[in-house]
Symmetry: C2
Subunit: 213 residues, 2 copies
């Protein structure tokens, strides 16, 4: 499997398919067509077939997919069988919201270290995990074998935090800071900038209604 050829959009949809298949399985449904999956994910059935085709042959023509089997395949493709350990940096309102995010734990993600540079927060506990000072990032991430760093600090501090996470041995970063991080090519970074998401909407909505700011 040559991953470089698989678009990120396909991976994102695979995650959505898995979520929907989990729900169908939970509802006691055994088989689904690509069109059922498409409806649940808000895409076309051609898209579902194209996405799945990147990873092999699934389902039986004219019969559909065995939901449990397909979901197990997708979860394996996404490497979701195991627990992934998250290192969260910055326990402000967004960091706290992430810690409380039910979906993370349900999907096998567990925050196993938390960092902040606010003396009032250091030594406190969130969901049983102690808040350590930011200067301990490298040491603690390495010791606790965290896999993915989650950056929830202001933009000005994000690069330093990313450097420390990388030195600690993190493999990937989910970055909520509004800044482009410079990292080694082996480190996978996803940027989630909420303002960018809103600005896509203002562009689209502004065009639709002929609004000019």
């Amino acid at each position: 499997m040559k991953i470089t050829k698989i678009p990120v959009a396909t991976i994102m949809r695979m995650s959505v398919y898995s979520r929907f298949l989990t729900q169908l399985n939970h509802d006691g449904i055994e088989m689904a067509s690509s069109s059922d999956i498409a409806d649940g994910a808000g895409v076309t059935s051609a898209q579902v077939r194209k996405d799945l085709a990147y990873f092999g042959e699934f389902g039986i023509r004219g019969v559909g997919y065995n939901i449990k089997e397909l979901n197990e395949h997708i979860r394996k493709i996404l490497h979701l069988g195991d627990e992934w350990r998250l290192a969260l940096v910055g326990i402000g309102s967004l960091g706290r919201a992430l810690i409380m995010h039910k979906g993370f734990r349900e999907h096998g993600f567990a925050v196993n270290c938390i960092f902040d540079n606010d003396p009032a927060k250091i030594g406190g506990f969130f969901e049983g995990v102690e808040v350590l000072p930011a200067e301990k990032i490298r040491e603690a991430v390495s010791q606790k074998k965290a896999d993915i760093g989650v950056i929830c600090v202001p933009a000005a501090q994000a690069q330093n935090v990313a450097d420390a996470l990388v030195e600690g041995g993190i493999k990937a970063i989910l970055n909520f800071a509004s800044v482009n991080l410079v990292t080694p090519p082996s480190i996978h970074v996803r940027n989630v900038d909420l303002t960018v998401q809103l600005e896509v909407l203002t562009f689209q909505a502004g065009e639709s209604i002929g609004r000019y700011g």
Copy 2:
């Protein structure tokens, strides 16, 4: 300008360029090359030129772009000159984090109505905005002319909330619930599923290190 031909990824990068140009302008810098902008946004300079070309001719060959002018153009393209009114539904930990999000207000987004179905929260205030019961969504959104709905409720309630927002006259929805919303074609929807973002990273990191879950 035919917006249907402009990829969402281009719009997202335009938002990132604007953020970087704002910072350069703030630092007192007047001119930038496409390569300067590319470095700041983490893309190639060919990408910057290609993205900008969707919207017209900017900059002078061999000289570069006037930062302030280009940023004003981009902000106009993204319809950011005006204030956009947000209706936030679900004031749990994520909803509170969004209300506190500095970037929103800085970029001209103001939450002007908040809804929840928890009696303990209804009547309370966040950033000066009163929490109304969820059954008031349609009426209040229409009355306060909210432009964009932000859905931070559990997946099971998200569709009902989306329906009420649409009936109230919302133009676009930023959806944090892990569910595919069914809305009229005129309503623009962006899904921000944090678990999906993490699963892209587990796929990529899992491939790199040969990890199987």
